[in-house]
Symmetry: C2
Subunit: 459 residues, 2 copies
């Protein structure tokens, strides 16, 4: 089909800016802080102190306690959202180039209000219409009806320090037909989406995680066609253990070695966690309009009222988790035998389903400083005092749950010799190995997935 | 190396029986019921009522509550064992045949006391010597030192209705040298181990799950050599998505279709669970010597004192979970285009890490009758009124946690037409597809893993 026939196509950065300005002007969206007393239908349970919606759906703010050998170590509030939501991306080949159907979507916690979202971004409560709003557009392509070819379908984790065992279903579906569009939806060539990843606070977290799960050819010159994507998927799946479980010419470690390394890290993890009533989290306190830790070093839980013209419902209240300051997530990359490798960490986080996933080389939470880094090189990486900065942007985390949660994402390339005595929780993986593990859930954490998507930007 | 030179080799069923009788005579093991007041260092926590060891290690008996949309539905006691234990199997080629190093091991809950265990079967509390007993034999082959070739290394679940998110590390390591043996350890050809799977209450649960994770050629005439095992592993990993995500000549469904089917089942799972204090489980009550449900339909928690001559410590007390009656687990198998397929169910269990795993065609808990089966064919399968019974044995579940927990395992082959309108939580998988999924954790539940090992017995 010729591009000129295609409705809702955004071909270039210039066309994108025009559409985006239109959307910003068209949007009516207001977010105001409200005290907890004005947050109905959200309220605190009288026995547990948990903050919850009257329907029992959506999510709750509860307490989580970390224990070692049965002894409580610390506790904090956490978001418990047991439902599996859908992050769905429709893709389509137009003029032999892969295009993604993206949405200009407002979320109450977003910086700039409007960010670029996947085709569908919906909790189960949303799409089963607990709040009786409009039905979720395009959901039928991802759930139930078999309207396209499923390229990606995997449950992935989200922020392990803010969510209790969150899973979202990352789905990419290929279609070969036009779909009815509203002004909020446009088809973008995938290369343009990668380009837009360099813009601060534009491509939202949900788009980034789904993009990261989309199999890519490692060659930047390979065409972004559907056949290339299918071929990349098959290559990933077929090369699962690289033919050999041991290191080879193309990777420092075989995948089964990497999986043993990850299981080792899980085995060493001596703490355990459990949900507790929020009122038992004694080091945090609740005021009229926030829940905050005594040191004011972590995050706050606040209440907001949002009013919008283009969401499923026009006005609603909800709690948001508001971090203090911004986080930092860095991948160190280096070529071995010409093959780019990423230095990853086996990172334990209290809310992760299986406690440990593969994370960036360096990941500092908002408010966390470099004193937590247990290797001098990692401190230098965090300060960007080493290597060549290949990617650097401030990106937002989920604006539907977090208020202005920002992470500085960086990719640093290091050419010279690196010390080999990294702590045991670090390992060098190739990009392909990381993409291969992403075919399954709960191997690669959300920050590493964002950074993996960003590595595709590097020329 | 010639077999005649090998120390501790058991070649035939006759030799096995001789060794086993010796072990039964040599063993000194006594298990007596004790009231909870005599269970020290185990005691009930005064606030929570949870039953725990004074060290805070090993495991606890707590409460689990099932909720739908925040509303409690039911509650029961559950074993919480957050540590990752090791189930390790040493394998070695002797006279070009693969042999496993197995152990005659006594467990307090075992039927017949003595059962055939893997080389290493140890909780982390065990092997880090919380109870100051002897060190765990052969552990160095599986943890830390790199003394062999790792063939299998994967965390798998255990009983999802009795354990809270239990994970055990299933490891198979190939070595090429003699190891020092005591009388409790013998090298058995793998074909003999499979043969012994037909004997009631002999091959224990831990051996079965590790065996299930060992890649096998699907051809029963293929030699059980290490090369054949390595080739099988590579084939499994390389064929991950069968080349195509859709059905093919050799399987009714492609693996990515199967993974979407499993995620669908997880998405439909509308309940959620959380640990609660055991004293909040109001429908169960605690007497002097047991914790039991009001209907006496489920299981009891009891206390025992064990005295043994060949364990790490010679006497200890502990709680055991004692089911009432025995369970039933059945795989229905059928050839499509000559390729054997298994009818599996996406089975949700309250204690599973991610709520749903692949289970047998039919699985009834001890005490559960066929009224829970939602398809007439499944009732006939449960009554063995259909098809040809290819495998039938009474096997024990973990004797270190459960008292006389028995499951009747059956494989039923059906040749004639089957109805195609199975409920959406059923799917036909090939044996190879099930083995492929077992390269990762938490896809295949413990009963399905036992049955998968049993399918290798069928000629």
């Amino acid at each position: 089909m010729a591009a000129t026939d295609t409705v809702g196509l955004v071909r270039t950065a210039t066309e994108f800016r025009r559409w985006w300005s239109d959307r910003q002007r068209a949007g009516r969206f207001e977010v105001i802080r409200v005290p907890f007393t004005d947050l109905a239908p959200w309220s605190f349970h009288q026995d547990t102190g948990n903050l919850r919606h009257a329907s029992g759906r959506f999510f709750t703010i509860e307490g989580i306690r970390v224990e070692v050998g049965g002894t409580p170590i610390r506790a904090q509030p956490i978001i418990n959202q047991p439902e599996i939501g859908v992050l769905g991306l429709l893709v389509r080949e137009i003029d032999e180039v892969l295009h993604c159907l993206l949405q200009a979507k407002m979320e109450p916690g977003n910086i700039n209000t409007l960010q670029l979202s996947p085709t569908v971004q919906a909790t189960r409560s949303n799409y089963t219409q607990v709040h009786r709003g409009d039905r979720t557009r395009y959901l039928e392509y991802f759930i139930g009806d078999d309207l396209g070819e499923t390229i990606v379908d995997v449950n992935q984790s989200e922020q392990g320090t803010w969510y209790w065992r969150k899973r979202n279903r990352n789905i990419v579906v290929l279609i070969d037909r036009e779909v009815p569009l509203t002004d909020d939806y446009r088809w973008l060539p995938i290369s343009l989406v990668y380009q837009l990843l360099r813009v601060d606070h534009l491509v939202n977290m949900d788009t980034r995680t789904v993009l990261a799960c989309l199999p890519m050819s490692e060659s930047t010159t390979a065409p972004n066609t559907m056949d290339a994507t299918r071929a990349a998927a098959e290559l990933l799946d077929a090369s699962y253990f690289n033919g050999t479980p041991r290191a080879s010419r193309t990777s420092r470690h075989g995948l089964s070695e990497i999986m043993s390394w990850l299981i080792d890290a899980k085995t060493r993890c001596e703490w355990d966690t459990r949900l507790v009533p929020l009122c038992d989290v004694s080091t945090w306190r609740r005021t009229d309009d926030e829940i905050t830790d005594g040191d004011r070093g972590h995050f706050r839980v606040i209440g907001i009222r949002a009013t919008a013209g283009n969401r499923e419902v026009t006005t609603w209240t909800q709690p948001l988790l508001a971090p203090r300051g911004h986080g930092l997530a860095v991948f160190v990359t280096k070529r071995f035998n010409g093959v780019p490798h990423l230095l990853v960490a086996a990172r334990s986080e209290i809310g992760l389903l299986d406690m440990v996933e593969i994370g960036p080389t360096v990941h500092l939470q908002p408010g966390e400083d470099t004193s937590s880094l247990d290797h001098p090189l990692l401190k230098r990486v965090a300060m960007a005092e080493i290597g060549r900065l290949r990617y650097d942007a401030m990106l937002s985390e989920e604006g539907g749950r977090f208020h202005h949660a920002v992470t500085r994402y960086r990719v640093i390339e290091i050419d010279d010799e690196l010390p080999v005595d990294f702590p045991e929780n670090f390992c060098w993986l190739t990009i392909r190995q990381l993409m291969t593990l992403l075919r399954h859930g709960h191997y690669v954490n959300i920050e590493a997935r964002t950074l993996l998507a960003c590595t595709h930007v590097l020329s």
